[in-house]
Each structure stands twice: as C-alpha cells, then as structure tokens.
C-alpha cells in the first residue's frame, strides 16, 4: 500500500510540473531562455534536454546533501552544484556538437541563473527526499521543454518555413521573418500564454458550473 501511495505521489509531481504548475506559463520562471533559444527547433531540443539533465541531477544531489548544507550559505552551495552540471554539459556540447554549442552561445552558461533550476532546488529539493526531488526536477524541466518546443515550432515553422532544417512549406510561401526576431519571440510567448490560460479558465469555470 505504501508503495502505491508513493507511486501516486510521484505521478502527481509529474503532472503538476508539466501541467497545472508549469514553470513557464504559471510560475513565470525561465522566460529568458524560453525566448532566446527558440528560433530553431534543434537548439530548443538541446536546450530542453540540457535543462532536464541539469535540473533533475542538481535536485537529486542537493536533496542528498540537504542535511549537511548550512542554512546561511545554501544559495552558494546550490549555485556550485548547478554550475558543475552546466559545465559538464557545456564541455560535452563543445566537444561533440560544436555547431549547436556555437548557436546556443552564452545561453548554455545561463542555465545556471535559470530560475527553474534554483527555484526547484530551493523550493523543493531542500526539504524532500532524493527520488521525489529528482522526479520533481525532471517534471518541471519537461514542462519547460514542452513550452519551448511549442514556441520554436511556431517560430521556425512560420518564421523560416522549415522544421529541423526540413523545408515543409510550399514554393510560394513567404516566411514571416518577424517571428525569428526578438519582438516575434515576445509576441509568440504572449499568445501562447493567452491560449493556455484562456483554456484553463474555461475548464475551471465549467467545473465550477457543474459543481454548483
């Protein structure tokens, strides 16, 4: 029975990170890179995967260390743990995927200050066990990656007429270059927020109506 309850709890964590507590759309965290790397689907996928690795592993290790970290210096310790994983990923990308590393530029390093990582380790991993923290980090990062993927599909698909470099559009298609630039990124995210929140509001008001 205890195992069942535990499984329920873990799948609940998964759902909350991807859906109702989605870090980008609901908690408003990690917006910077959500806009910066979404010009191409390929860079977005790499960024999403990197963030999943960094968040889940740092949460795991911080949770293991949580009883030995002095409260006053906990931010520094968390930063150290996070930056070690970011450095590993940076070196791996530089060695084996140089083009993508060039395209991502400074934004790989900026995973360190991505609020999602610190938010999860500070807000969850410091008070929970290693496995739950690992799943929680993974779920939040996955929610982040999904949002990024949606944005990048729109931006690369309509802004460049390609998807992962493959030209999907008919010959006469004129790409909306504005989507590739900074203002396009902001407006795409704004519209995504609009759609998702509108849908969530409609759902919750429908639920309220059936209860009443």
């Amino acid at each position: 029975m205890a195992g069942m309850a535990n499984e329920d709890r873990l799948s609940g964590l998964m759902k909350s990170g991807i859906g109702e507590n989605n870090p980008v759309l609901v908690q408003i965290l990690g917006i910077c890179s959500a806009l910066a790397v979404t010009g191409l689907v390929s860079t977005t996928l790499v960024m999403g995967l990197s963030l999943m690795l960094v968040t889940s592993l740092s949460c795991l290790f911080i949770s293991l260390l949580r009883n030995t970290i002095p409260h006053r210096v906990r931010l520094m310790v968390q930063m150290l743990v996070i930056s070690v994983f970011v450095i590993l990923i940076h070196l791996y990308l530089k060695a084996f995927h140089y083009d993508i590393s060039r395209a991502l530029g400074a934004y790989v390093g900026l995973i360190i200050t991505n609020c999602i990582v610190l938010g999860r380790s500070e807000g969850y991993a410091l008070r929970h066990g290693p496995i739950a923290s690992f799943i929680d980090g993974l779920a939040n990062a996955f929610g982040y990656a999904l949002v990024l993927l949606c944005i990048s599909l729109v931006r690369e698909g309509f802004g460049g007429g390609t998807l992962l470099g493959w030209k999907w559009s008919p010959a006469g298609f004129r790409p909306a270059l504005i989507l590739k630039s900074a203002p396009g990124a902001f407006v795409t995210l704004g519209c995504l927020v609009w759609i998702v929140r509108g849908w969530a509001l409609r759902k919750s008001s429908a639920q309220g109506a059936t209860k009443a």
Binding site: S83, I87, T113, V187, R197
Partner: protein, 208 residues
C-alpha cells in the same frame, strides 16, 4: 582616443543601451522584469541595483578572466581555464552581492533598507551573468575601459526598459484586458512591441 569610430566607447555605450539592449534583444533578466515592473519606484530601485552590480562584477571578472583563466593570462599563461568561467563568475557575483549587503547594513542602513529586498534577487538575475559571459567573447575583444562602458550601458539599458514598462503598466491599470491575458500575457506582448520600437535603432550603431 577616437570615440566615434565603430567599436569606440561611445558607440558601445549607445549600442548596449538601445540596439543590443540586454533585455529586449538578448532576453536576459526577464523574470525580474515581469515580476517587478508593477510600480515605478520598485522598478527604478531594481534597475539601479542591477546597473551597480553589473558594472562592478564585470570589472572584477574582467580582471579574473585576463589574469587567471584565459590562455596567455598573467598567472597561468599556458593553461586555458576558461571552462571554469561559469563557476567563478557566478561565485564572484554571489559573493559580491553578499559583501555589498553586509557593507550597506553596517554603514548606510537607510540605503540598505531601500535596496534590501533587491540585492538577494540580483544573484540569480541572468542579466548580470549574461553581461559577464558576453563581455569575454573573443570576437568583441574588449579592453578594460570598453568592458566598463559595455557593462554600464547594459545595466542602464535594463533600468530604462524596466522603468518604461512600469510606466506603461501604470497606465494600463484601468484598462479592460481580457482575463487570460492579464499579467504575464499582456506584459510579454507589450514587451514585444517595445522591442519592435527599439529595433528601429538597428543599423545606427553596432556593437563591436
């Protein structure tokens, strides 16, 4: 010194303030930008705090980069330690912020209390780490003076953007915005329009 030539200090300042605005073209510091741009006073306080910390840490990290980490540096000329950049830079920023907090608390308590809440938030403000990581880009090849100018311009650019946003949101208080668009949605879309306006400066000045 030629200040009007491309890559000169004045142009770097203007470029980092307008065309390469850290917030509107590089998307850095968005979290605090959205969370704190509700009123003008908070925004201005955050803007000034970011400018100060960016400027100071950029100078310190410039010294560390060229003194210790980079290839051909003063202390370890043969070793390329730039892979440690992330770790060292973020530690310098976090340490500096903590240091400023202690100094202010001890000597200028009034400033500490008006600055207080922003300082811890600054450690995880990606605009600051962003400026620190961008300035050591070998393509830009900044010397100490240009680094200072670039950091100052970027900090002020952040301050300018967040204050403009606070002004706009202040005017929007009574506007009838559809419910799903309130908060994050409308702020992001307005930021997009602001970024469009700042793009108008493109081509006038270039960084580097």
């Amino acid at each position: 010194m030629e200040i009007f030539t491309p890559g000169g200090p004045l142009l770097i300042f203007l470029a980092s303030l307008f065309t390469s605005n850290i917030l509107l073209s590089k998307f850095l510091g968005m979290c605090s930008f959205i969370a704190l741009s509700r009123n003008m006073k908070t925004s201005f306080g955050m803007g000034i705090a970011v400018t100060f910390v960016t400027f100071a840490t950029a100078l310190i990290n410039y010294g560390i980069h060229h003194g210790i980490l980079a290839k051909g540096s003063v202390i370890f000329p043969d070793a390329d330690l730039t892979y440690l950049e992330f770790l060292i830079f973020i530690l310098v920023i976090a340490g500096f912020v903590q240091f400023v907090e202690i100094i202010l608390e001890r000597f200028i308590p009034s400033l500490y209390f008006s600055f207080g809440i922003f300082l811890p938030l600054i450690t995880v403000n990606c605009a600051i780490l962003g400026v620190n990581l961008l300035m050591v880009d070998p393509n830009l090849n900044f010397d100490l003076f240009k680094t200072g100018v670039y950091a100052l311009g970027s900090g002020l650019g952040y301050c300018l953007a967040i204050c403009l946003m606070a002004g706009i949101r202040n005017k929007l208080q009574d506007a009838d915005i559809p419910e799903p668009l309130q908060g994050l949605g409308s702020t992001v879309i307005i930021t997009g329009i602001m970024a469009l306006a700042f793009m108008g400066f493109t081509g006038m000045v270039e960084l580097g």
